[in-house]
Amino acid sequence: MTKNWQTVVTIFRKEIVDALRDRRTLLTVLASSVLMGPLVLLAISGLVASLESNAEQREVVVAGLGFAPTLKNYFERQTFTVRDAPADFEAKLRSATLTDAVVVVPKDFEAALQRGDAPIVEIVADSANQRSQASSGRTARLLGGFSRERATLNLAMRGVSPDVLEPVRVEERDLASTQTRATQITGMLPFFVLMAVLTGALNAALDTTAGERERGSLEPLLMSPTERWALVLGKWGAVASVGMLIAVLSCFSFLPGQWLLRSDTLAAMFQYGLREALLFLVVLLPFAAAASALLMAVAIRCKTFKEAQASTTVVMLAASLLPLINVFSLGQEAPWYLWVPALAQNLLMTRVLKGDALGIEQVAAPLIVCALIATVAVWFVARTLRSAAVR
């Protein structure tokens, strides 16, 4: 028995050395998985920061400013900077060179206002121009404020309480914590991490199975007096270790990535510390082990590296599509989600980002599934090994 375990260690060490010497592939995978975290964060923070700066800009663009001194006065009292709209603002909105919605004031605005004729003020935005769309909501609220102020004044002059206009007070209360809101933005991170683990394990998985067949080194290997399970276990251990290494690196890459956050709000919302990184690993390490075994099981049936790459695409595709179930159900999580590989991991990592606690009952189901997949796949590889060597 101890001899067999020594064999496992021998094979494990050889495969690790072999994988680590494949410098070019390794560097590509490492660079993409380690740099990925900071890069994704940077992209998100850039987006959020620009949205924020737009929101903080207390600016309103008006066409026909001269027709509405009352309105201008109101805007300025709200500490908004009022800008004249360019003459070709419609074309500029369409081409997204202008990112603010434009208020269009009619010529007879003041007179109509005095008469109480309710002049029509247009807010022009292009819904394909997302930033103008965002500023159009803000502008609408601003104009609503103006409307209310006028109404209140008119009522007060007639001795009516302004409360008559507002028989019901509406107040919104958002139950989402800051972290929950942040997952709307950072929700894609778990997906990136999952794919990094898979691509990391892929090359080693193919090299130890289909690659070994293609080189013609599997036949001599089976002519050594080793137990097949020891052989497969050593190989699987090595492949899983590579996958886990990538998992660790990509999980920890988010820690320094956080410092690069340009948006203060996002930095406050995206709380990813050591605790989160470790919880990510609790979820990811079993997944790396199971995925490695599965990739090996698919690849052992292929005669060449190329053929195996084509076959394993199915696994990669499944792993990237399954998490989408959660997206399509719009957050309505069903209990069986935890029993679906890739989907479960995605779900749990999202929960970690939301700041939810992970209980053993949540981690147990994916763990059982991973153990099952790994066992069946390793058994299959061990069973197929002999016929694979000869064919």
Binding site: I11, K14, E212, E219, P220
Partner: protein, 266 residues
Amino acid sequence: MIHIEHLAKQFNVPAAGRFGIGFKRAAAPRIVQAVRDVNLHAPDGRITGLLGPNGAGKTTTLRMLAGLISPDAGRMAVDGIDVAADTRKALARMGVLSDARGLYPRLSARENIVYYGRLHGMSAEAANARAESLAQMFDMSALLDRRTEGFSQGERMKTALARALVHDPANIVLDEPTNGLDVLATRALRDSLRWLRSPAGGAKCIVFSTHIMQEVERLCDSVVVVAHGRTVATGSVSELLVQTCEQDFEEAFVKLAFAEEEGAAA
């Protein structure tokens, strides 16, 4: 000592076009009788040649001996150990250079050899020492610490041979070892095999499959001629010449190996 008796093996070969796109209905799988009745006795301290034309069943026989394929019928024993019953124990007593002799390109020749030594249960030091002495024997010491990526055919061959012999097996099985070797390398290999046969080299039992007559004439103490999956003749080169009443071994071989076809044609 290697002993093979009445070995037989058939394969189901999927009919051609089964996976292709065509209008014809797929034919039933073809049954190929790769080995019908192979008998071989290779004593210690002798080089036994397994001679046969392409497709005679040599590689299949040696793969069965190495436990890669289970035979349909027959018995194989290595130093009295039944291969089917105790494959691993039998493998431990054999050094097999198979048809597939792939090396790990990212490992050095030494690492390739030592890896197999470790798989045979040797300590790292012992395997390393053995790799060095084998490298000396095959004149490849300079290659030892180079990665096998970019090795020539002959260098690969030497490395694979050293790998097969790392655990100093009492029985050596070589499947067409001179394939792709130049004259000098072939000569060197012959010398090595002769030395391994001698008492000084350990009086190994060597089984050597080939389809090259000259190899057999120069090297083998006894010859087993295989054709169409059957052992058709056994004996030393001179015995076979006498048996077929020929002066030239090539003529004798053609007579022995293709007798059936000629008989059928007649």
